[in-house]
């Protein structure tokens, strides 16, 4: 397998992990919205309510930065990082 194929395989792997986490916070937890909302969560808000106000939103911000860093590492590993002069 060529260097580029390996790079793409790893990139795709990262995509699936990222989308899996995204799925949990955007769809997964809201499947159980009614049940989860009965439990008190962070700062005293009901759990589901807190996720829609802050939790999921914040998780997405962190997820994107995490993804960007991981992808940079993958690019470096296979020598596909951009050079400054490009």
């Amino acid at each position: 397998m060529s260097n580029q194929q390996k790079h793409w395989e790893k990139t795709r792997g990262l995509l699936f992990i990222t989308l899996a986490i995204w799925f949990v916070f955007s769809i997964g937890i809201f499947l159980f919205g009614a049940e989860m909302n009965k439990v008190t969560g962070p700062f005293g808000y009901p759990w589901t309510y807190w996720f829609t106000c802050q939790g999921s939103l914040g998780a997405f911000v962190i997820l994107i930065f995490w993804f960007a860093n991981r992808q940079e590492k993958i690019d470096e590993e296979f020598g596909f990082s951009e050079r400054e002069d490009e």
Binding site: F30, Y45, T52, F60, I64, A68, R83, E86
Partner: protein, 603 residues
């Protein structure tokens, strides 16, 4: 000098922010010295619009590269701010807290959808389109799939989605200009339009970028300052985001106590159009999982398909910067979106809690009608009370309010000085203007670059191309304003439709263009046109009394449209020949950040 400006950005915008805060303080002092509310409103809107116009003029350019992609040198964090302003429209600013106030949990699917979409943008599209080096979104479609028909189809989808969106934004600038400057709406719409064009006409994307950063600073101060102030004034907590649990619980208690009494249809006839009462629980789960998830999903996929957002990531210096910039965009959006539910909570509690001095539920009608702010907002057609059961006491189902009032009136209800209301007007104007600018530019650029230059006259010189781009900008702006002046639809409805149109036609052709090498021209054209037509058909069908299926409503018709688009694209691609070697090589090159971009620096 140009490099100098980029290096000095933190300083330039630091001074700008300081100057704006100084302006707020001067206005506050002027208010104490007797400046009228009306004069403060005019000063706020006029001063900020003047600054934006000045930035627009300073950013004027005659180069295609600067006009279409701001010279590809916008630093990560600043591009994040510009995207946040581009993204947060008049609807986010003025209508979102109101929506949460009335519909509670079910409505908050929009919060999740309008933020979660950025994960898709960052992981599926933005870095790859940046590597591609395109000027517009149809530029990517046209080059990846090849052929004028593919390019043209993308322009069609882009125009339908963005135009639906832009009329709502011009409408919002008109509403705010008409209130703040006290002129009739039909004229205010054109005042708004001229302000919008001043930012974008001379400098194109470069002008829009630097005004959007300035607009973000105004709108975020204008949103957060009142939320914190009101929370502190009510004694609800010094940092509302972490401290409103008791207030949320208290609203739940009051809902139990008052009950959601349904009004008779005959009674509701007397309520002015556009006003609503509280009929849904605030924090309790009041929507089925599918209703919530389908709305969130439609908004997420729509986010990743809207060209005016995507083209912001064409302006970063590198692929790496494009990825990081998506993170910053969402961070800046998060600051406002996480505050909207807090504002809705504070606003609702201050109105309905009889234990608070501002609470009006449980008071007699004579008492409420004597309150200053009630009279003001009743006159503005945003509040209304009616004693349906004739007992003389105001009850929860006898109080009606417009969605905009949550943002616009809460500062006054909480007893904040008028300078805050002026600030909020300036913020709303900034939010609507920045989004309108991005949208008009997206449409005009697609038509000037992809239709005029790439299809009609590929030999046109830069000067002529930019002239065409500017003329189109004005024409599209005026068309949008003319439709906005007719006031066909509410702000929020048309915004949501724009997402559905965009995802119906563009989501899969864009994503598969990068992630599926086998996707070819025939498949993409079928996907774009088929998806758009299917989505539009579903919308018309539901609007004309159709029952719909799978719980897909007129707000989520994009789910149907994009499903049709996906199926058509895969089936047609597999039935026709695979893309040629050169195209496959192109896709390989897009997938790695290093190396030259697919399209040259000037193309």
């Amino acid at each position: 000098m140009k490099g100098n400006f980029i290096d000095n950005l933190p300083k330039v915008y630091g001074i700008y922010t300081g100057g704006f805060i100084g302006f707020i303080i001067i206005m506050a002092i002027a208010e104490q010295m007797g400046m009228t509310a009306k004069a403060i409103g005019i000063a706020f809107v006029a001063f900020t619009v003047f600054i934006y116009a000045l930035i627009g003029w300073l950013s004027r350019t005659a180069q295609a590269d600067a006009y279409y992609v701001a010279g590809r040198q916008v630093p990560t964090v600043f591009n994040g701010m510009a995207t946040a302003a581009d993204w947060m429209s008049g609807a986010s600013f003025v209508a979102m807290a109101g929506g949460i106030y009335f519909k509670g949990y079910g409505y908050m699917a929009l919060l999740v959808g309008w933020t979660g979409g950025y994960v898709l943008v960052a992981s599926l599209l933005a870095p790859y389109l940046r590597k591609f080096g395109c000027y517009t979104v149809p530029d990517f479609i046209g080059t990846r799939y090849g052929g004028n028909l593919a390019r043209f189809s993308a322009v069609v989808v882009l125009t339908v989605a963005s135009f639906t969106y832009v009329t709502a934004q011009i409408n919002a600038t008109g509403t705010i200009a008409s209130v703040a400057l006290d002129i009739p709406f039909q004229y205010a719409v054109y005042v708004g339009l001229i302000s919008i064009l001043l930012c974008s006409m001379l400098g194109g994307m470069r002008g829009v970028t630097w005004t959007q950063v300035a607009q973000y600073i105004v709108l975020i101060i204008a949103y957060l300052l009142p939320v914190f102030w009101i929370s502190n004034k009510m004694g609800a907590g010094f940092f509302p985001h972490f401290m409103l649990a008791d207030e949320v619980a208290r609203i739940g208690e009051l809902e139990q106590q008052f009950g959601f009494v349904k009004n008779a249809a005959a009674d509701l006839k007397s309520v002015p159009k556009g006003l609503a009462g509280i009929t849904k629980a605030h924090s309790a789960v009041n929507a089925t999982p599918w209703a919530f998830i389908s709305l969130a999903l439609a908004m997420m996929m729509g986010t990743a398909s809207l060209p005016h957002v995507m083209m912001r990531y064409f302006t970063t210096p590198s692929v790496k910067a494009a990825r990081k910039s998506v993170g910053w965009s969402l961070f800046f959006i998060f600051l406002l979106y996480s505050s909207a539910p807090m504002l809705a909570t504070l606003s609702k509690l201050s109105l309905i809690d009889p234990n608070l001095p501002t609470g009006i539920i449980g008071k007699t009608f004579a008492e409420v009608e004597a309150i200053d702010w009630y009279q003001n907002w009743n006159q503005a057609n945003l509040m209304f009370i009616s004693d349906f059961n004739g007992n003389g006491t105001l009850e929860l189902n006898e109080f009606f309010m417009g969605g905009k009032a949550v943002v616009l009136a809460t500062p006054e209800i909480a007893g904040l000085p008028y300078v805050i209301s002026g600030l909020v007007a300036a913020g709303g104007m900034a939010a609507a203007m920045s989004t309108a600018d991005g949208l008009i530019l997206a449409i005009a650029n697609a038509i000037s670059h992809d239709v005029y230059y790439k299809i009609i006259d590929p030999k046109a010189e830069t000067a002529k191309r930019l002239l065409v781009a500017r003329v189109l900008l004005v024409i599209i702006g005026f068309a949008g304003a003319t439709i906005a002046a007719m006031e066909i639809q509410g702000i929020l409805g048309s915004v949501i439709w724009a997402f559905d149109f965009a995802m119906s036609g563009l989501f899969f052709p864009l994503v598969l263009g990068v992630w599926w090498k086998r996707a070819n021209r025939q498949g993409a054209i079928a996907g774009m046109l088929g998806g758009l037509i299917a989505g539009a058909w579903y919308l018309v069908w539901v609007r004309t009394g159709g029952s719909g299926f799978l719980g897909i409503t007129q707000l989520t018709f994009g789910i149907f449209g994009s499903a049709v688009s996906l199926v058509l694209m895969v089936v047609v691609s597999l039935m026709t020949a695979e893309p040629d070697k050169a195209t496959q090589k192109m896709v390989d090159d897009v997938r790695v950040p290093s190396g030259k971009s697919i399209l040259g620096k000037s193309h």
